[in-house]
């Protein structure tokens, strides 16, 4: 479908597809197997100038927004949903600075992210606090000109690879969710360490580790916004980043559809390509409709967010949920179209199915999203 992208957006799309096709796709299976972080591909991202597409021009970016980030994430994820995350999760770690950073913070951190010199990560989740951000145990205690951080963040994407971390910690436990604040922590700050790399089902080349703070002292200027704003920073960040997860999902789904269509021509049974069988045709048609509907929803939501609209939580949740459910369904169907071959690692679709699953889970499970969508609906109806 033609989404009437601007020339620049189309350029981003074309370039990211070229990167996916020529650089990511050939190495995706290898990285999936080894679980290594694809630094060589991060270098390609940097050289291609795509790292700054969603960062304001005055900080060395291209001045795009959520839509540009989504377009790029989708195309890169078509190549590999794990490798693309080095780029997309940097976006997640950067949004708090773009949204709540002051002039000094933006000038200090954004240019290196925009140029691809540094990756970023967002550290919210803990062992006992995922979707329930109020349960955060990591503390930030003010001591003179510093905050001292203590605690352990879990399942942090890009951990260990990123240079810049935006971290949510409790400055005032008594106030619950309203006692959280967000800080910028640089990787080489004394007291920052990382846990072992998680061995995951999918998105295996993406780095997922614990970030451990042990009396980690950071300058007090590193707080984003002010004390007590942490929960709001996190929520607003997710509102902006969920279309990115959705885009990752739709990129994976599109790849699954492409592979399935291609295979259906090649595979012959009973003397005919299986694409000539109605049973397969109907599956492909359903897959294509769902992928396109997901994309349309993401692009619309992204445009709305970029316009500066206020109530974006609902559409953000909708596109993430719809696209990730679609990705799971479409990749599962792609494996089905491939039959026994689809189950084998020599063929690309089982990886897509493994990679798709996480999109239903992270940045808020789809159940949490549905809850949020429903509560928005109810609130709207009562207003």
């Amino acid at each position: 479908m033609d989404y009437l992208l601007t020339e620049e957006q189309q350029m981003i799309k074309d370039l990211c597809r070229q990167i996916a096709e020529e650089k990511i796709k050939p190495v995706a299976a290898e990285y999936d197997e080894s679980g290594e972080f694809a630094w060589d591909i991060m270098k390609v991202f940097a050289e291609s100038d795509i790292c700054g597409i969603y960062i304001p021009e005055e900080y060395g970016g291209m001045g795009g927004g959520v839509l540009e980030l989504a377009i790029a994430t989708e195309e890169l994820s078509w190549g590999c949903g794990g490798i693309s995350l080095g780029f997309a999760a940097t976006g997640l770690g950067t949004f708090p600075i773009i949204l709540y950073g002051n002039e000094e913070q933006k000038a200090k951190y954004l240019p290196d992210i925009a140029s691809g010199k540094k990756l970023a990560a967002f550290a919210l989740t803990e062992a006992e606090a995922g979707s329930d951000a109020g349960g955060i145990k990591t503390t930030a205690k003010k001591e003179g000109d510093h905050y001292v951080l203590n605690g352990t963040k879990q399942w942090i994407t890009n951990a260990g690879e990123a240079e810049i971390y935006t971290v949510v910690a409790m400055t005032d436990r008594a106030r619950g969710a309203r006692g959280a604040s967000t800080f910028i922590v640089e990787k080489d700050t004394p007291g920052v360490s990382f846990g072992k790399k998680e061995n995951k089902m999918g998105i295996r080349s993406s780095a997922t580790r614990e970030v451990i703070f042990d009396n980690c002292r950071i300058p007090k200027e590193n707080i984003l916004g002010r004390e007590g704003l942490g929960f709001i920073v996190a929520m607003k960040t997710f509102d902006h980043s969920r279309p990115g997860v959705a885009a990752q999902a739709v990129g994976i789904a599109q790849r699954a559809l492409d592979e399935a269509v291609k295979y259906s021509h090649e595979r012959k049974q009973f003397g005919h390509s299986i694409s000539s069988f109605q049973g397969v045709q109907f599956m492909l048609a359903d897959m294509a409709m769902q992928v396109e509907a997901s994309r349309a929803l993401i692009y619309s939501a992204a445009k709305m967010i970029d316009s500066g609209a206020k109530n974006i939580a609902k559409v953000s949740a909708m596109c993430k949920t719809f696209a990730s459910d679609t990705a799971m369904k479409v990749t599962t169907d792609a494996v089905q179209v491939f039959g026994g071959y689809g189950y084998m690692k020599e063929y690309p679709v089982e990886k897509l199915m493994r990679d798709a699953k996480i999109t239903q889970i992270y940045e808020g499970t789809n159940q949490i999203q549905r809850g949020a969508i429903a509560s928005s609906l109810i609130k709207e109806s009562l207003a």
Binding site: E8, L15, E47
Partner: protein
């Protein structure tokens, strides 16, 4: 230091099919790209500029007006500017006339120290244009370059790939270097490059602009003529061995045993 990269626009695939009904090449939908070997030349030019910390890279191509697309791609990879040589009078040029025309343009651009191009074009495979250009310009050449060890405004030391290994050659500049794929891995275009390429003005020079001798360009200037074009006769297929792998492999071993024992 000025570097000129010669690029040719070619069909994306050499696997051009013949329509058996009309006996014509099926060209529909065949995308046009920069000759893959020229991509290495572009990359090497960019690396020379990076290495020297200065330099201007001019991409030069001769072809129909749509070859402008290839030049824009060269700019999106990082070339500073581009020039297209396009004129009906260039039609029918063989390698002699092409290298003459390119040499005229290189003279017009002026003050160039290094001329880079791919060892050959993927559609013609002649490997004649690079040496032809160096001869028309009366400057040295090194063909099949797989590494540039050293380069400055006075000389270059390079490795030329041979059938047995490689030669190390020192050459004064200006020089024509034709490169092989072992020399580097071409980068992708960058977003900023793509935007620059979109806006770049690419001058089109004609035979008149170049002050070409009309007897040396196009069909008239080409010593060679194509007189016949035909589809190659297929080699007759032989026998397909039937049976389970155990049987077929055994039968095959019997059939080719004499060749192997000699």
């Amino acid at each position: 230091m000025k570097i000129i990269v010669l690029i040719k626009q070619v069909p994306a695939t050499t696997d051009v099919k013949i329509d058996p009904e009309t006996n014509t090449l099926k060209r529909e939908g065949v995308e046009a790209v920069i000759n893959p070997f020229d991509m290495y030349a572009i990359e090497e030019a960019l690396r020379i500029r990076e290495r020297l910390g200065e330099g201007e890279i001019v991409a030069l191509s001769m072809g129909p007006p749509q070859a402008e697309q290839a030049l824009r791609e060269a700019i999106s990879m990082g070339c500073d500017r581009a020039v297209l040589l396009s004129d009906r009078k260039f039609a029918g040029s063989d390698t002699w006339a092409t290298s003459y025309t390119l040499a005229r343009a290189i003279r017009k651009i002026g003050d160039c120290r290094v001329i880079l191009c791919g060892k050959q074009a993927s559609d013609g495979d002649t490997a004649q244009v690079g040496p032809g250009v160096s001869t028309h310009l009366d400057i040295p050449q090194v063909t099949y370059v797989k590494k540039i060890e050293k380069i400055d405004a006075a000389s270059a030391t390079v490795e030329r790939m041979t059938e047995e290994g490689y030669d190390i050659i020192e050459t004064p500049v200006p020089v024509v270097l034709t490169v092989v794929k072992e020399i580097n891995e071409p980068r992708l275009p960058s977003l900023k490059g793509k935007m620059r390429a979109r806006k770049a003005g690419i001058p089109v020079w004609t035979a008149e602009d170049l002050g070409c001798d009309e007897g040396k360009i196009g069909l008239d200037g080409s010593p060679t003529r194509v007189v016949k074009v035909f589809t190659p006769p297929p080699r007759e297929g032989g026998r397909v061995l039937e049976g389970e792998p155990e049987e077929t492999s055994k039968e095959l071993a019997g059939l080719i045993k004499d060749i192997i024992i000699g």
